[in-house]
Every structure is written in structure tokens, then in C-alpha cells.
Amino acid sequence: MLTIDQATYDAIVAHAKRDHPDEACGIVAGPEGSDRPERLVEMTNAAGSPTFYEFDSTELLALYKQMWAADEEPVVIYHSHTATEAFPSRTDIGLASEPGAHYVLVSTREHGNNQGPVEFRSYSIVDGEVTEEEVAVSDESSPPESQRSTTP
């Protein structure tokens, strides 16, 4: 099960809506072994595409170095689908390389950049095996603004 606070959930949804019709992507880091998604980092989709995403390679290194220095790990890895359901594509499954992470998919196909509900679903992807998991949104306040960043 993925437990995520309301502010982080909302920020992921807002990012997906903002970048629609291109796919949005990012991570939520948390203390190693805690399974607590605490620090949202929006990443640049280097592919800039409605059907593909890829973290910019320079940002990716900066992000991992930050996490290593802070004893964090990627708790959530998210991206959006802008024309299809919030289910991992074959490419998503083939390229998933963080077996401990929650892979979150948001689909903006219904309302695009506009207000309105989105599909927000979470999966574990281990050795090509996809398992959907429950998403629990908690009221617990998110970390202060100062701990957030838009780019690593």
C-alpha cells in the first residue's frame, strides 16, 4: 500500500495537469527504508512527449547524489499518461528499475489541463511483474515548503 499525504498527492496531480498533453514525471524521495514519500522533486521530461518520458540525465545524477547524501531513496516514481489509462505500459514495465519504489501513474486523459478528477493509481513493478496497490491519502501535513524543490 502507498500512503501519501494530501499536499504531495495534489502537487503530483497539479504537475500532471500542467504538463498535459506531454507526460509529466518526477519522484517523491523519503528516508531510506521508511516507505514515507516526503520530498517531491518534479523532473524535466527530457523526451518532451505525449507518449514517452525520460528524466533528464544530468538532473537524474544530481537527484541521486542529493538522495545519497541525505540517506534518502525514491519512494514514489510518478509519471502521467495523457491519452490512456493509468496503468503501466509495456515500456514502463520493461524499464522499471527501482523494485522498492511505488510507481504512480496519473491519467489526465479525461480533463487535460482543466480541473476535474484524475485517475491516480500505484503499482509495484518487480522483474516485469506488476502489482497494483491501494493508495491511502493522509491528512498529515507535508514537509515545509523550504524542503521542497522543483529541480534537484
Binding site: A47, F52, Y53, F55, L60, L61, Y64, P88, T91
Partner: protein, 94 residues
């Protein structure tokens, strides 16, 4: 001469769980060949032999001293004593 190579979680099955290993070589390609002798199977996860020519796999990023080797010579990128090499799988999908 030794070079530290940072191994991502997904590839630590090849390094007995070690987060970083030491290797040596004068180029990234040579370094990876040496890694392979100590950690069999690792090379194949990093390199694709296209038409008999070894090339970095498309969805693996390798950095020498923070520089993405795609912009600094790929497998021919020079490495030197004390350099740090980081391997990170691309975070990508469709």
C-alpha cells in the same frame, strides 16, 4: 590505479549487494571489461554488442566525475586513478 564505481540497486545482485566496487582501466570500456571479470554478468547489463560493436545500452546512464559519458566519448571516455564512475538506469517509460 583504482576507480570507484557506484552500482545502482537493481544491479547489486552482481556485486553481492555492494553499493560501490573498485575497478581499473584506462577507458570506460576497459574498466567495464575488468568489472566483468570480478562480477560476471554485469557487462551485459551495461553494454549492448550491436553488429559486433560494443555500445552503451540506451537506457543506462554512466557518468565519469559527474559527466554523462554520452557527451565525453562513450566507452572510449578516459578514466584515471581516483575518478568516480556512477551507473544509473534511466528513469523512463511510455
Amino acid at each position: 590505479m583504482t576507480v570507484e564505481v557506484r552500482i545502482p540497486t537493481i544491479l547489486r545482485t552482481y556485486t553481492d549487494g555492494e553499493k560501490a566496487v573498485q575497478s581499473e582501466g584506462e577507458t570506460l570500456g576497459g574498466l567495464i571489461d575488468n568489472l566483468e571479470s570480478a562480477h560476471p554478468g554485469l557487462r551485459d547489463r551495461l553494454i549492448d554488442d550491436k553488429d559486433g560493436q560494443p555500445d552503451l545500452r540506451r537506457f543506462v546512464n554512466i557518468y565519469v566525475n559527474d559527466e554523462d559519458v554520452r557527451f565525453s566519448g562513450g566507452l572510449q571516455a578516459p578514466v584515471a586513478d581516483g575518478d568516480q564512475v556512477v551507473v544509473l538506469p534511466a528513469v523512463a517509460g511510455g
